[in-house]
Amino acid sequence: MTDMPVDETEIIRPPRNQWLDVWDQFKTHKGALMGAAFFILILLAVTLGPLIWSIDPTYIDIRARNQGPSFAHPFGTDQLGRDTLARMIAGGQVSLAVGMTAMALALVLGTFIGVLAGYFKRLDGALMRMTDLFLALPLLPLLLVIIMLFRDSLRSAFGPEGGIFILIVGVIGITSWMQTARIVRGDVLALKEREFVLAARSIGTPAYRMILRHVLPNVLSPIMVSATLGIANAIITESALSFLGLGFPSDFPTWGRLLFDSTDYLQQYPERVLWPGLAISLTVLSVNYIGDGLRDALDPRIRGR
C-alpha cells in the first residue's frame, strides 16, 4: 500500500511527495473529512475523557442506581449506580483498542493470504483449503479450547490485562480473516489477467513489486469495506467473548457489554441502550467514511480527475 503507481504527470512536473497528493484528494472528500474529524473526537474523548470526567467507572454508588441523565451523571447510572458516562469512556478505550487492532490483524492476515493464493497458482490450493478449514471450525468450542490452553500462560507472560488483550485480539483476528482472504483472492485472480499486469510482467517486474505496485492498490476497495465491517464485528465479538469468560473481568466495561447488559432494561430505561448503540454505530460510520475517502484518494484514476 506504500508504493503507488507513478503518475505520468509526475514526470513533467517537479517531483512532489505522492502522500501530499493523496492528502489533497482526501481533503476534497467531505464525508471522509467529517468521518476523520469525528473519529479523532471519539479517540480524544476516550483517551482524555478520564482526565476531565474523573469518576471511577467501577465505583458503585448504590443509592444512585437507575438514575436518568442529571448534572451529576450526564448519561445516568446503571443498575448498581455506576456512572454511565465514565463507563462509556472506559469502555470506549477497550472497544476501540480491541476493534482497531483485531481488525488490522484480520485484514493483514486476510490480505496476505488472499494475495498469495490469488497470485501464485502453486499456493492457491493449499491456502484456500486452509481457509475452508478455518471457516468450518466451530467458533465456541474453539474459543473454549483457546482459553484453556493459552489464558494462564499469556497471563503470566504479559500480566492480567495485557495477556487478555493479546488473547482477545488474537482470537478475533485469527477467526475473522477468511472472508477478506476469499474476496481478495477472487479479485486478484481477475486482476492478474488484466492487460496492465501482463504488460508489467512482460517487462520482468519481480513478483513482490507486482503485488505491491499493481495488485494491492487495485484490490483496495473491498479491503476498505472489510475494514469497516471488521471493526463493528470485533467490537461486538469482544462482548460475546466476555460471556465465555474469555474477555476482560466482568466489572470492566466495554461498549458491546454495556449494550448487551442494557438490552434487558430496554423498556424501563431506553436511554441506557442508546449510548453504547450510538457509540458503536457512529464509530463504524466514521470509519466507513474515512475508508471511502482513502480509497478515492489512493486511486490514481480518481486522483487524476
Binding site: Q79, L144, M148, F243, L244, G245, S250, D251, Y265, Q268
Partner: protein
C-alpha cells in the same frame, strides 16, 4: 411465608371446588414456556430440572412433596411410617400400597411389577441413570401382590423415602421399557420421548429441545381432570423473553424460573396480564472459601491440601470477608421478593434452620476492619492489607450470569473498603460446572481464592447435602477432582457428626445434628452464605389452580389447573 402459602393453598382449593365438577378437557389449551428446552421425557436419562418438570406432566412417583415440603401420597394409599407399620422398626424396609384401579394412559393396569421395574431400570449396569443415587442401598424390591411393594435396604435407612418419591424417581411402565435396560436405554428413542404415564397428560408430539405437545390422559384416575384438553410446552430462548410472553403479550400461560432483576420483573408485571409467584426451597447462593493455595506456581499440587492457603486459613480474614457483605442489599438488587438474606447454608425446612448465626445479616465494615487490625493485618501504601509480606489479594470466580456479575462487583467494592483487593473472573457455566478434569476453570478444581454459586438438595432431607463437607469429599488430582467439598474443609468433629446422622432415626435428633453441622461451617466461615433464593415463576391472570412448589416439580398439580373465565 409459610402461613401465606397455607392460605394460598386454602384459597386455591376453594376456588377449585366449582372446577371439580367440570368435565375433562373442557378448558381447551394451556401454553407453558420454559426458557430451557427439555431434551427428553425420561428423567432417568437426564437429571436436568427442565426434563424432570416436563416429564412430571406424564410420569408420577408413588409419593411427592407438596408446597410446604411435607410428603403426600400420590399413587399410594398413604405414606408408610414406623408408626403405621409401613417402615420396619429396624429401618431396613418400607412397604408401599398402590391405590387400586390405577391405569396407564394406554389403559393397562399399574401394578407393583412396574414399580419394581423402575428400580431395575435405573440401577441396570451401563445405563448411566441420572437418578441412581435415589436407589442407593436398595438391596431388593419385592412384590408380594399386584398392589404391594416392599423395598429392602442393605443398611438401616433413617430416611427411607429416596426410591419412588419425588419428581426425580417416578414409575415407568415395565412393558414399554423392558427392552431398554442398561446400555440399550438410549436406543429406545420412542419410549424416551413418548413414555406411558399415569399423570394427567400424555405426549402427542415431542420435538427435543424445542416443543412438546400433550393431550389429556384418557385414563387419568380422576374422571373430571385435567381441565385442559391439550398442553403446548415450548422451550428455548431466555428468561426475559419467557417472562415477556406471559406478563406482557399474554401468548403463554405459565413461565418457569424467571431469574430476572427485580425491577425488570416489576416492569413486566405492570402490564397487567399476569402474576408473579414465588416460593422458597433450599437453594442458597454462597461464596466458597478456598482453604488451599491455588497459586499456579505449585503446578500439579495447586489447590490441594498439601498447600494451605497463605491467608484464607486465618479465620480472622474469613470472618472479615463475611462481615463486610451487606446481604440485605444483595438480595434487594439481585432477587427482590424472590430472595431473602441468609446466614445459613442449610436454610430450610424450618426444623433444620439455625438461628445461631443471624448476626451476619447486618453489614459491619468497621467491625471487619477491627477484626483484621486485631489479627495483625495492616493497610499498606496502596490500601491493601499486608502481614508478613502476604497481601490480601483475592481472585473471585463465578459462572457467567448477570446477577452474579453484579454481586461480584458489589462484593469487590465492600472488600476493597476493608483493605482486600479483588480480581473478578467469570466463566461460562458449561465449563464452570462441567467438571472436565482437563479444564482449569471448573468449580471443583477451584483455582481461585473464593468462588460463588448456588446449590440445594432434592426433597427435604439434608443428610446427603450436609455430608458434602466431609474430609473424604475434598476434590484432588487423585479423585480426578471429583468431590463436593469445594472449600477443602476438614474437621474430625464434623465427620463424626456426619457419621452420627447416618444412623440416627429420630427426626428431632437429626435436626439437632444438621443444625450443629451448619453452625460449625458458618462459625468457621468456610462457606459464606449470601442469599436464600426462591423460585420465581409467572402465570397469566386466566390460569387458575397454580400452586408453586419448590420441593418437587413446579407442574406437580397441573391436573388441577383450569381456565378462569
Amino acid at each position: 411465608m409459610k402461613l401465606r402459602h397455607a392460605l394460598m393453598g386454602a384459597a386455591c382449593t376453594l376456588a377449585l371446588a366449582p372446577a371439580a365438577f367440570a368435565e375433562r378437557g373442557s378448558d381447551g389449551q394451556v401454553n407453558i414456556i420454559y426458557w430451557q428446552a427439555p431434551s427428553t421425557m425420561n428423567p432417568y436419562l437426564s437429571g436436568g430440572t427442565k426434563e424432570l418438570e416436563a416429564a412430571s406432566l406424564v410420569l408420577e412417583p408413588l409419593a411427592r412433596y407438596n408446597q410446604d415440603g411435607s410428603m403426600v401420597p400420590w399413587l399410594v394409599e398413604s405414606i408408610p411410617t414406623v408408626e403405621n407399620g409401613g417402615v420396619s422398626a429396624d429401618l431396613t424396609s418400607i412397604t408401599w400400597k398402590l391405590k387400586p384401579g390405577l391405569k396407564w394412559a394406554d389403559g393397562s393396569p399399574v401394578t407393583s411389577k412396574d414399580v419394581k421395574f423402575s428400580w431395575e431400570y435405573c440401577t441396570a449396569e451401563g445405563g448411566g441413570c441420572a437418578q441412581s443415587e435415589k436407589y442407593n442401598d436398595v438391596a431388593n424390591v419385592e412384590t408380594p401382590d399386584e398392589l404391594t411393594v416392599i423395598v429392602r435396604f442393605s443398611v438401616p435407612k433413617p430416611f427411607p423415602y429416596g426410591p419412588f418419591v419425588g419428581a426425580q424417581a417416578p414409575i415407568l411402565q415395565a412393558a414399554q421399557f423392558a427392552e431398554c435396560m442398561g446400555p440399550k436405554a438410549p436406543e429406545c428413542t420412542d419410549a424416551n420421548f413418548y413414555p406411558q404415564g399415569t399423570g394427567p397428560f400424555t405426549v402427542s408430539d415431542f420435538r427435543p429441545n424445542d416443543v412438546i405437545q400433550l393431550i389429556a390422559n384418557p385414563n387419568y384416575r380422576d374422571p373430571a381432570k385435567p381441565a385442559f384438553a391439550t398442553v403446548t410446552f415450548k422451550g428455548g430462548g431466555d428468561a426475559t423473553a419467557a417472562g415477556r410472553s406471559v406478563l406482557e403479550t399474554g401468548e403463554f400461560d405459565y413461565a418457569w424460573n424467571l431469574q430476572l432483576a427485580p425491577d425488570v420483573l416489576a416492569g413486566m408485571q405492570a402490564a397487567g396480564k399476569g402474576e408473579i409467584i414465588s416460593g422458597f426451597g433450599t437453594l442458597v447462593e454462597r461464596i466458597m472459601v478456598n482453604f488451599t493455595d491455588p497459586s499456579p506456581d505449585l503446578g500439579d499440587r495447586r489447590a490441594t491440601v498439601d498447600h494451605p492457603h497463605p491467608f484464607l486459613t486465618d479465620i480472622a480474614v474469613r470472618k472479615a470477608l463475611s462481615m463486610a457483605i451487606d446481604r440485605e442489599l444483595l438480595t434487594e438488587i439481585g432477587y427482590g421478593d424472590a430472595g431473602r438474606p441468609t446466614c445459613n447454608v442449610l436454610p430450610a425446612p424450618e426444623i433444620y434452620k439455625s438461628s445461631a448465626n443471624d448476626a451476619c445479616l447486618v453489614q459491619d465494615i468497621e467491625g471487619a476492619k477491627k477484626v483484621l487490625d486485631d489479627a495483625g493485618w495492616v493497610p499498606g501504601a496502596d490500601g491493601v492489607r499486608v502481614k508478613d509480606g502476604v497481601r490480601l489479594s483475592l481472585l473471585f470466580q463465578s459462572s457467567t450470569n448477570a446477577v452474579r456479575q453484579d454481586f461480584q462487583a458489589l462484593i469487590k467494592q465492600w472488600w476493597s473498603e476493608i483493605g482486600v483487593e479483588t480480581e473478578l473472573r467469570n466463566i461460562d457455566a458449561s465449563v464452570f460446572f462441567g467438571g472436565d478434569p482437563g479444564s482449569p476453570d471448573t468449580f471443583q478444581k477451584f483455582f481461585a481464592d473464593v468462588e460463588m454459586y448456588a446449590n440445594n438438595f432434592d426433597g427435604t432431607d439434608p443428610e446427603a447435602y450436609m455430608a458434602n463437607w466431609e474430609c473424604s469429599q475434598i476434590p484432588s488430582p487423585e479423585t480426578q477432582w471429583q468431590g463436593n467439598n469445594m472449600p477443602r474443609y476438614c474437621s474430625d468433629e464434623y465427620d463424626a457428626l456426619v457419621a452420627e446422622m447416618a444412623t440416627t432415626g429420630d427426626i428431632n435428633e437429626r435436626a439437632r445434628l444438621a443444625k450443629s453441622m451448619n453452625d460449625m461451617l458458618m462459625q468457621d466461615y468456610a462457606i459464606i452464605p449470601l442469599v436464600d433464593r426462591g423460585r420465581v415463576s409467572a402465570h397469566s391472570n386466566t390460569l387458575g389452580g397454580v400452586v408453586l412448589n419448590t420441593w418437587d416439580s413446579e407442574l406437580w398439580n397441573a391436573a388441577d389447573w383450569y381456565r378462569i373465565k
